[in-house]
Amino acid sequence: MASGCLTSFHVPCGELESAFGARGYVLNALVVAMHVVPLLIGTFIGAPLLARELESGTFRFAWTQGTGRTRWVVTKLVLLATVVGALTCALGLVFGWYVHPFDAVGYSSRWLPGRFDVTGLTLAAWTLFALALGAFLGLLIRRTVAAMAATVALAGALLVAAYWRLDEQLLGLGPRVARASPDGWAVGPLHTYVTSQLPSNPGPPGSWLISSWYTGPGGGRLSADAANLLLGRLAVMFKPAATVNDATAWLTAHHYVYWVSFQPPGRYWLFQGIEGAVLLGLALVLALATVALVRRRG
């Protein structure tokens, strides 16, 4: 259940959650499918682009025509990159449109590692990177099948690394820190965003929560064990008839503060831009290396 749901919709949360939860498997399948797109294009279009020419000997035809090999390879790369870039960008936008309701009810978040890499911008950037990587490896390896295997392995490894670690590292850069409601309720149960609707809100809706912690009466940060101990004590003290507000009042009275670090929603496109720029930069470097190698070969 998401706290966005509590305030934004005049529908019982349970119903909303089950309605979207029933579609959750579609969402997950689509997220996986979107990650396969760069791999497919890198493997089946990028890798054979030059490897097949070198393997079958047709490069001897292509490179001895009047336009010359430089223009040939540049045209090939630019045309393909334009088409592939436009199509994957459109695909990312369509996917974003489909998935928006899941975000609105708080079932999913655009900040999630699986989601962050498949927007219109990042999906296109990943795909162009895989395309350039495939072309470059094909030129180095000169065997179509081997180049395809190397491309899927390398691009796949990088995508998985982004999913598990790199996105987290990127989104953890320079977070904002704020006091939240002392009981931590202001932070949604999904722990993926922070909402503004509840009291003592630390950030606008659509933020990305990175971490949260308590500080004690002395101002020191509580360890995870200490925090658990405190919550356990609260549970005993205010059982059974007490309300959340009693606990909150007690925490406030005893100078316990709940903190969150998060990325505000305004930074979403900044981080999208960073990831996109890094990937497009890598793609450009690979493409330039490919052109240089084609020119120098022989």
Binding site: T58, F61, G66, G68, G298
Partner: protein, 355 residues
């Protein structure tokens, strides 16, 4: 005009030298046969001439000092690589369109007319054509570029005798119509005279023979006589090769067949096949035109291959070239002056000079 000119050209793949110290000037307007056994460096030389390969050392230019592989050269030189590598999955029409897109001077009508004459279906996939048809298609695409120099690597290798005949006929018609220079490689030496009028022989990466076929044949003769006297005669006449044939011996020498033979010997004209095979069997002998320096006329570092050419051969070649190429003669004179004698490394079978 020189169709192909190289100076001190060498190409190394890993540790193997595919081509060594090759200096050569092939005049334009000829059909040049580049012959040699498998692995002699023919493909290497042709790929250097088309810019597919880059020289390890030395330089190569085409069509009068245009660097091989430059955009200017690519526009004026057409190349049909070994086994005519075309895009097998494309229909013929698409292949023609592709060639048109890749060549500013491409003449589509000409290509289409030729394919019609050859009865090649434009809608068929290239991969479904016979070997002969693919070779013809590759030649058609190359000719439609209106090249000034056409280079073909083993164009005959995959063809049956009939297709071979058709292919060469097409090539010769085109040569006459367009006045282009042609260089093709072949490891088959039979029947070359019918097609080519200039021959270049490569053996193990080394240039061995280069010259106008008529001049080469006119400058050599086969002496037949008693086997006992053969060695002595061979030593005296700078023979290229001695072949025992029973009690008789056949000695290939560098002098016109009309020259009166020594007593007891008969002098015959030599066929191109005999001549080429004789040189290939005597790897240290060579028959090359005078030294070809770089285009500026600098020949101080005379390549060893040329220096090794016996005086007789050089003199003959010089006489030939002199009429055509005044600048070349100047170069030769320079080269003669600067070529040091110590550079001569004469083969055992060839005595120092014919005096």
């Amino acid at each position: 005009m020189n169709a192909i000119e190289c100076s001190g050209l060498a190409k190394r793949y890993g540790r193997t030298w595919a081509l060594k110290e090759c200096s050569l000037a092939v005049p334009g307007g000829h059909i040049v046969a580049l012959v040699g056994p498998n692995g002699a460096g023919k493909t290497t030389l042709l790929q250097l001439a088309t810019g597919l390969s880059r020289p390890t050392t030395g330089s190569i230019t085409v069509l009068d000092h245009v660097p091989a592989g430059s955009l200017d050269a690519l526009e004026r030189v057409a190349f049909v690589a070994q086994d005519a590598p075309l895009y097998q999955h494309l229909p013929v029409a698409a292949m023609v369109a592709l060639a048109e897109g890749l060549n500013p001077r491409f003449e589509r009508i000409r290509a289409a007319r030729r394919l019609l004459e050859l009865d090649i279906d434009l809608h068929r996939k290239v991969g479904k054509l016979s070997g002969g048809q693919q070779a013809q298609l590759a030649l058609t695409l190359a000719l439609a570029r209106r090249p000034e120099l056409l280079i073909l690597d083993e164009p005959l290798a995959r063809l049956d005798p009939l297709a071979r005949h058709d292919f060469m006929a097409a090539l010769m018609v085109a040569t006459v119509e367009d006045g282009l220079s042609v260089m093709f490689s072949s490891h088959v030496v039979a029947e070359l005279e019918r097609v080519a009028d200039y021959v270049v022989v490569l053996a193990s990466g080394r240039l061995q023979v280069a010259g106008d076929i008529a001049d080469l044949l006119g400058g050599h003769s086969m002496l037949t006589g008693p086997a006992g006297e053969a060695e002595e005669l061979a030593a005296r006449l700078a023979a290229v090769q001695v072949r025992p044939a029973g009690r008789q011996a056949r000695v290939l020498v560098r002098r016109p067949a009309a020259t009166p033979p020594p007593a007891g010997w008969e002098s015959d004209e030599v066929s191109l096949e005999e001549l080429i095979l004789a040189y290939l069997r005597a790897p240290s002998a060579s028959a090359l035109p005078g030294p070809v320096g770089p285009s500026e006329g600098r020949a101080a570092d005379g390549p060893r291959d040329l220096a090794a050419a016996p005086d007789g051969a050089r003199r003959g070649a010089r006489r030939r070239r002199g009429a055509r190429d005044r600048a070349g003669r100047e170069r030769d004179r320079d080269a003669r002056r600067v070529l040091p004698d110590r550079g001569l490394r004469l083969p055992d079978v060839v005595p120092r000079a014919v005096r």
